[in-house]
């Protein structure tokens, strides 16, 4: 049972309105009360939804380049190794020998962990998801885009499309998996966008696709075709 006062505190906590002392006291209550934690989660989701009430704007394209550039730099940044100083006597050699043994043990442990990780990945298809970013090509609108999350282990995926207007009457959009071991793209079904040009659907290619290199969306005759005929509107690799 949650009191009204706790509910009030939960709402203020979800909005980040409690002071540091109140925050800390409320977090102690949270740890001991599962029902209260559930309520806070619900209220946090409500707070998240509130963001969508802000007037809709598009983030400038240059911002993504800026951010991607920065994370690339951070990823590639290498911490320089400190210069080793030359020294004499048996102690440094003993330390070096001990380190060599230790490194050997670490290497063995790493191999073991990598094997375990590979086993876990093999057992859990969720860990084998590959993302494909699909970019527009004429005659698609320049701001049309799609993201595909592809799970080879499950032979299925989810595609999310935005800014792609519904096709003219008598036409449909069709999704294709481009697989290295198939001569022709494999149909992954018809995709229907809503009136806002948005679609989010699960799909499954009609044939096994174990080496997918790209996904593409083409404009085809209504109901789809077994082999791609129409123009490609969106295409992308990993």
């Amino acid at each position: 049972m949650i009191s009204e006062e706790q509910q009030d505190q939960a709402a203020l906590y979800a909005l980040g309105l409690l002071g540091a002392d109140e925050d800390s006291a409320f977090e102690s209550e949270l740890r001991a009360n599962a029902e209260l934690r559930d309520l806070v989660r619900e209220l946090r989701e409500a707070a998240g939804d509130l963001a969508l009430a802000a007037p809709s704007l598009q983030a400038p394209a240059s911002l993504k380049q800026r951010i991607m550039g920065q994370i690339t730099v951070e990823t590639e940044r290498v911490v320089p190794m400190p210069t080793q100083r030359a020294s004499f006597g048996w102690i440094p050699w003993a330390i070096a020998a001990a380190l060599a043994v230790f490194c050997g043990l670490l290497a063995l442990d790493r191999v073991r962990l990598e094997r375990q990780l590979a086993d876990i990945r093999a057992a859990d298809p969720l860990m084998q998801t590959t993302f494909f970013a699909l970019a527009p090509s004429a005659p698609a609108p320049a701001d049309a885009k799609a993201t595909v999350a592809w799970q080879p282990g499950r032979q299925s995926g989810v595609i999310r499309i935005s800014n792609l207007p519904a096709p003219q009457s008598g036409k449909d959009y069709q999704l294709w998996a481009v697989d290295a071991e198939h001569k022709d793209p494999i149909s992954a079904g018809i995709i229907r966008v809503d009136k806002n040009g948005v679609a989010q659907v699960r799909f499954k290619p009609v044939e096994k696709a174990e080496h997918v290199k790209a996904f593409a969306i083409s404009l085809e005759r209504e109901g789809g075709v077994p082999k791609k005929e129409g123009p490609i509107l969106l295409v992308g690799t990993t």
């Binding site: 203020l12 946090r44 998240g48 993504k64 993302f131 040009g197």
Partner: protein, 194 residues
């Protein structure tokens, strides 16, 4: 859930897990999905495109470096990133002492709150038309009892404390707390049932 279907939540969580393993393609996909609503929120609170972009950059760098700390038990990925954004924006508002300059416009008339150059305004109108989820949230928010909606908007978008809201509205503190709580719960319930 209003913003995210269960399939989308699964996708988001998978992207966050991959970002935790330093997967730039997952980061790029998550950026594509979240940047517009988060930028819109930052603009609503800051009212300045350059500052909103800086705030968003901080947020996404934080997502990149802290993806491993995301806890799905506490919130969806979308709500987590909204709260990160709000937190970074509030830091900026505090640091620059600019609370008095916050855009206060109502969510009922989105066209009056957009700051920026002409192309941004144009794309904003275009996006607003297309954004069904946002339209649902606005619809529900605008149909809450006005005193609840007012309290929530002051708390969320202006980051006024409950004490400040009580002072501004001339209402007892307990009344303001109850309005915020009831409004948030009603918002959630109606979005779930819509």
């Amino acid at each position: 859930m209003a913003e995210t279907s269960s399939a989308q939540q699964m996708l988001d969580q998978e992207m966050i897990a991959r970002i935790g393993r330093r997967d730039q393609s997952a980061f790029s996909a998550l950026y594509d999905r979240l940047s517009d609503p988060l930028y819109s929120l930052a603009m609503k609170m800051l009212g300045d495109p350059a500052e909103a972009q800086d705030a968003l950059q901080d947020v996404f760098l934080q997502i990149w470096s802290r993806a491993g700390t995301y806890d799905p038990e506490q919130s969806s990925v979308f709500s987590w990133t909204v709260l990160l954004t709000r937190s970074r924006v509030i830091d900026r508002l505090r640091a620059r002492g600019r609370r008095s300059r916050v855009v206060v416009a109502s969510t009922e008339d989105s066209s009056t709150t957009v700051a920026g150059d002409a192309s941004t305004v144009e794309s904003a109108a275009d996006t607003a038309e297309k954004n069904d989820e946002a339209a649902r949230v606005r619809y529900v928010l605008n149909n809450l009892p006005s005193e609840q909606r007012e309290a929530i908007e002051l708390a969320f978008f202006e980051h006024l404390s409950h004490h400040e809201i009580a002072a501004r509205l001339g209402q007892p503190l307990g009344t303001v707390k109850a309005r915020i709580r009831r409004g948030l719960l009603k918002l959630r319930e109606r979005l779930n049932n819509l």
